[in-house]
Structures are given as C-alpha cells and as structure tokens.
Amino acid sequence: MSQLKNIVCALDLSDQSKQVAEYAVMLAKMSHARVTVVYAAPTLTQYTGFHVPPNTIDNFVGEIVSGAERSMADFVAEHFQGVDAQGIVVVGYAAEEILNLAEKEHADMIVMGTRGRKGLDLILFGSVAEKVVKNSKCPVLTIRPTDDE
C-alpha cells in the first residue's frame, strides 16, 4: 500500500486556500510528507489572436507570475510552518499543469479546493477539480469551501 511521501497542494491564493492548506499540512505532518504548493496562473495565449500585441500579453502574464510568486512565498511561510514545503507558480491550463506537476513530483496525493476564484473562475475552478479528479493517477483530496451558500 502506498505511503504518503509527496503531496501536491494546488491553490488559487484565494480566501479558501487557507482551508485547503490546513488539510495538506495535516496530511504532511501525519505522514512526514513533502509538499509542493502550486498556483497555476492562466495562460492568455488564446487571446493572441485578438489583435493584442503578443508582448502586451507576455508582459501582463509576467507581472501576474511575479506577483503570484511573492504571494505564494508569503502564503507558504505563513500556512506551511513546520512542514517541508516549497511553493511554485506555473503558467498554463490549471488542470493540465496540476496533473503534470503531480506526475513530475511523483505525488502520492493532490490536495485542492473545488472552487475558490471569483466570477468566471468560480465556474472554471470547479471544472479544474473535476478534470483532476477524473484524470489523476494518484488520489485527490478535494475540499469544498464551507462559506459556499
């Protein structure tokens, strides 16, 4: 039976992320696992066809990523205390990036929220979780926000 050695914790750096982090931390402490905390910034390459200069989009995504890297570092420092955790920011389609990372890190479990981001993302992130659940080779722990109603 598989032990828990590597956990991938996918976050959107929203209000819900704290709750998701708690479960990853609990599991990590229980099993002395290492945690890779990931935020997948959306790629905007699909908009390059819209007569937006490609550089504009790249710069914009670059800014988002460096901002997210700072938020991620702060988040990991605050919410993953006492755990061997590393935060990273990737760019791409969230479900795909999370699944790829899980494979690369030989994850024994993925921990993620079922939704969290606002607006359109609220719909999208649910489907991210669903895609991950359906395609992941390792078990997936999903957490639905409690302040959902």
Partner: protein
Amino acid sequence: MADVKKILCPVDLADPLPLAAEYAGLLARQSGAGIVVLYVVPDMSLFPNVNAAPDRTEKFIKLRDSILDGARRSMDRFIEEYFHGLDVKGEVAVGEIAGEILARAEREHADVIVMGTRGRSGLNAVLFGSVASKIVKSADCPVITIRPPDEEL
C-alpha cells in the same frame, strides 16, 4: 484545524481491487480515525417499470431483500479483509447512491469521504463515476477520490 476522526468509505463490494478501502485503512491507521464502510443498493425507484404490476413489485422486494442479505454478508467479509483491527462499522443502505452517501456523511459527522471514482463491475462501473462527481461537488467535508489505474475513457 483540520482533523480526521471519522472516515466514510463508500464501496463497491464487487470491486476486486478496492483501492479506496485500502486507502481509507491507511488513513485510519495514520490518524487513529474510525471508519464507516457504506454500500448502497440502488433503490427500486431506479427501475420505474418494476412498479408496473403489483406482483412484479413483490418480486422486486423479495429480490432486493435477498440482495441486502447478501450485501450484509459480503460487507462482513470485506471489513474482515480490508479493515482488520480498525475501529470500523459496516452499513448497507438502500437508495439513490450519491444521496445516501451525502446523508450518511452528514449523520456520521464524517471528516472525510474516501471513494473510488468508479466501480469496476456491472452497473457500478457506469454509475460510480457520476456518483463521485456529485459527491465532490456537494459534500460538506473533504473528499478523497481514487481512480482505478487501468480505467479507460
């Protein structure tokens, strides 16, 4: 703080490789949590035509009762095999699968549900995937889903 004291593990008793059960067992051993193992026999309302004639209904009830008896015996064996030495309770319920799982999770104050994304035999092979989807979307507690390794589609 997140804590695991009670695990709800819905199972397909006919699954020859119940990864979710193994996983729930592992989690229980690491956390000291108790486990409720649940098998849901689909309710007869899933087969509306059965209600057509009264004697059919009677036959169905008989059939269902014998399924329930069999399920309870299988559950005992299942628990002995996968949850030996753990604080575990087996439950066989009748109803709509996702609804029963969610209701049970609430009643038992489950801290986590551990389940496969689909069963691997018969009707459950079709139903269980959509069940897992519903649970992930609607459960108040976290859900651990485990996909069988050789799942097609």
